[in-house]
């Protein structure tokens, strides 16, 4: 599904991702861990096409297509979803409008008509239930005045509505208490399917108790220093990252 080869990404002229290789097959969940500044978020942004994240080398194919040649909105249409570490507040734009506009953009891309208003509301309510969200949230501005936990839930709600084929979740667990973490994890798990993949960027092993990954990768200085299964995350929890950094040096 996703194949990253020797990817190099610079931000403000500084190389952050430096020769990263990763293959994610359909149905797999990959966790990307690593110390601060190792390039985890840069990788996530680069895959989503954020301006300012300059690709200086390598290639990324998604479902056989050159992902890097696509604009951010086109990547979304193809089924790539980025769950933001810091979801952006947009006062004046309703959540419901954003959800509808996003859903219709995807449908338009697939040659489908705009979603019926009733169907849409039924769908939103169903997904909001999964995320344990209150109805009143729909009429509020996008992330406006949301708590940290509400913002993360909102990200997962958007993901559930859009049903991406590849979800890249950037520290979706940060700032969550244990109850919110369970809700968010449950939301992600409901989306797991043989034709979908998830890339979880996280600092902590805790999330992986609830979303069990098929693979765990440790990023050090912009490349994958070690890969393993979920036991690697447990080992990191005990030993920290230093030993891998030293090995990689």
């Amino acid at each position: 599904m996703l194949k990253i080869e020797n990817l190099q990404v610079s931000v403000d002229g500084k190389k952050i991702v430096n020769g990263l290789d990763l293959e994610v097959k359909a149905g797999e969940v990959h966790a990307i861990m690593g110390p601060n500044g190792s390039g985890k978020s840069t990788l996530a942004y680069a895959l989503a096409g954020r301006p300012g994240y300059e690709i200086t080398g390598g290639k990324v194919t998604f479902e056989g297509r050159d992902l890097l040649a696509l604009a951010p909105d086109e990547r979304a249409h193809e089924g790539v979803f980025l769950g933001f570490q810091y979801p952006v507040e947009i006062p004046g734009v309703n959540n419901v409008y954003l959800l509808k506009a996003a859903l219709n953009a995807a449908r338009k891309h697939r040659g489908l008509p705009e979603v019926d208003a009733f169907e849409f509301l039924t769908l939103v309510r169903e997904k909001m239930k999964v995320m344990n969200m209150d109805e009143s949230f729909l009429s509020r501005g996008v992330n406006e005045g949301f708590s940290g936990g509400e913002k993360k839930r909102n990200e997962i709600l958007q993901m559930l509505m859009l049903e991406p084929r590849l979800a890249i979740l950037d520290e979706t667990d940060s700032g969550l208490d244990i109850d919110a973490l369970k809700v968010v994890a449950n939301g992600v798990n409901t989306l797991r399917a043989p034709e979908r993949s998830v890339v979880l960027v996280t600092h902590y092993q805790r999330l992986l108790d609830y979303i069990v990954p098929d693979f765990v990768h440790v990023l050090v200085r912009g490349r994958i220093a070690r890969s393993g299964d979920k036991s690697l995350a447990l080992e990191l929890e005990k030993r920290g990252y230093d030993w891998i950094s030293e090995e990689a040096a």
């Binding site: 989503a48 096409g49 954020r50 301006p51 604009a71 951010p72 909105d73 990547r75 979304a76 249409h77 979803f81 980025l82 933001f84 979801p87 952006v88 947009i90 006062p91 004046g92 734009v93 309703n94 409008y97 954003l98 509808k100 506009a101 996003a102 953009a105 995807a106 891309h109 501005g141 996008v142 958007q158 859009l162």
Partner: protein, 500 residues
């Protein structure tokens, strides 16, 4: 230039004086206005608070109203029909003025005890059609025409200035425009204390041909009350009209006033409105000011409000029309615990100039004021907001807030937002924030990452930016009309329709 302009005004006034109705403004007061103008001159762009205005069109203006606009049209119908007017707003009694003169046939009298509206041309209730009949004839507000809205601004980063609490005399500004970074100037020294600049109101005094005098008796409750529609239809390049409103609200009354300015046809004309609002103790006024003049109109407005103890004044202004528009707004908090809020949204495109100067003066203690501005400049437009707060020495316990934001939506557009503070007492809480810049990159990318195309994302964000002000309009029908008008001005009515 100013001297010759004043001279020309005096000459034209002398020629027209005999035909100007004395019951609108007395001859003595008209002469006094002309004399004051002769001494003070009209503003020029060298005046600090007029530097963003476009005063050049005045050189071509013939200041006397059209012959006959004052008196002769009585009995003859104007070339304006109800279909030319914005849709009526439910429960508001509509008074229509065409080229500054009241037109009973387009109007409906207010049917509420405690409210009297008088015009030069007597508005007897029995001669007016009912509001319902007029509403049935109305149609939705017309969307202003516009040139191409520009794509993403590729200009300057936002700049902010914050200061709280502030000390004596601290103006600051944020500007963004071609070739300039948004500048937040160091706080410059303030010269003479600000005073109300009412020179264009004097010009209205001199030439006004009609006006609405509204009296609201004590304890009257009329939250949805009166709509004044001022229609400019004169087509001549040099024609003038002088909308005029006096609103007197007695103690503990509550009143809602809608003031709209529209044009029929795209005629270039000079509209110079003067509005005075006098709010007695404990009374509340909600004032909606909507400026949707035609694309060639030169529109000036002087609004002065004075608030007594515990009075509340909420002004919601939206300015989208005109080639050159300038609002001069003076609000004086003269009574203890008075509360004033001025919210304004301006939209400029093509060659438009949207300029506003707002002076809020805290005279009495423990009064509160807020100023909120959201302006978007696209095309080659200039959008300016100069918001000044003066806290006099007896105004202890003042609470004043300013939030002024401008958005550049084109590489050739210009935004000037300028908060100014003059404080002459210690015990105050003043906060001001001003930004001028382009659309927020984070917001933009967030929308793109959800599959929304760049053009739609930009429209959405521009819309959201204005909504800060528009959402506060508590009259749902009016808010919808304004939203349609803004969407039309932004040439994005179709795409934004889902928001409306």
């Amino acid at each position: 230039m100013a001297a010759s302009l004043a001279t020309r005004i005096a000459e034209q006034h002398a020629a027209a004086a005999a035909s100007l109705p004395g019951d609108v403004v007395s001859g003595e007061r008209r002469r006094s206005a002309i004399e004051t103008l002769a001494v003070e001159g009209l503003p020029t762009t060298r005046d600090e608070n007029w530097k963003y205005a476009n005063l050049r069109p005045l050189d071509k203006v013939r200041f006397a109203p059209l012959a006959g606009a004052g008196a002769a049209t009585a009995g003859s119908l104007p070339g304006v029909t109800p279909a030319d007017l914005p849709a009526a707003v439910k429960d508001y009694a509509r008074y229509v003025f065409v080229d500054g003169v009241f037109v009973p046939s387009l109007s409906a009298a207010v049917g509420k005890n405690g409210i009297t509206v008088s015009t030069h041309r007597d508005s007897r209730a029995d001669t007016l059609p009912s509001a319902a009949a007029l509403a049935a004839m109305g149609r939705p507000a017309r969307a202003a025409t516009g040139g191409s809205a520009s794509a993403a601004a590729t200009l300057d980063a936002p700049a902010t200035v914050h200061s709280t609490p502030a000390s004596v005399g601290r103006p600051a500004s944020a500007t963004a425009g071609p070739g300039a970074s948004p500048v937040v100037s160091a706080l410059t020294a303030v010269g003479a204390p600000a005073k109300n600049d009412a020179r264009f109101a004097l010009l209205n005094d001199a030439f006004a041909t009609d006006g609405a005098t509204i009296k609201v008796a004590a304890n009257t409750d009329c939250p949805t009350c009166i709509e004044l529609v001022f229609v400019a239809q004169v087509e001549s390049q040099t024609a003038s009209s002088y909308p005029r409103v006096d609103l007197h609200v007695e103690a503990n009354a509550r009143v809602g006033l809608i003031e709209r300015h529209v044009s029929v046809g795209s005629g270039a004309n000079f509209v110079n409105a003067a509005v005075r609002v006098d709010i007695a103790r404990g009374a509340t006024v909600n004032h909606y000011l909507v400026q949707e003049s035609g694309a060639k109109a030169v529109w000036f407005n002087t609004l002065s409000a004075i608030l007594a103890q515990d009075a509340v004044y909420k002004l919601h202004a939206v300015s989208v029309g005109g080639l050159s528009a300038r609002s001069t707004i003076n609000v004086q908090l003269a009574g203890e615990r008075a509360d004033a809020s001025v919210s304004m949204a301006s939209l400029g495109d093509r060659q438009q100039i949207q300029d506003a100067f707002v002076l809020v003066e805290h005279v009495a203690p423990r009064a509160r004021s807020t100023q909120t501005f959201r302006g978007i400049a696209a095309g080659r437009a200039r959008v300016a907001f100069n918001g000044m707060v003066v806290v006099r020495k007896d105004a202890q316990g003042t609470d004043s807030q300013q939030s002024l934001r401008g958005l550049l939506a084109g590489p050739d557009a210009e935004i000037d937002v300028r908060p100014q503070l003059e404080i002459y007492t210690d015990d105050v809480r003043c906060a001001h924030g001003a930004t001028a810049g382009k659309l927020d990159d984070n917001m933009l990318f967030y929308l793109l990452s959800r599959g929304i195309d760049p053009a739609t994302a930009q429209r959405l964000l521009k819309w959201a930016f204005l909504e800060d002000v528009v959402a506060k309009i508590e009259v749902p029908e009016l808010r919808r009309q304004i939203e349609h008008s803004l969407a039309g001005q932004m040439q994005e009515a179709a795409e934004l329709k889902e928001l409306l």
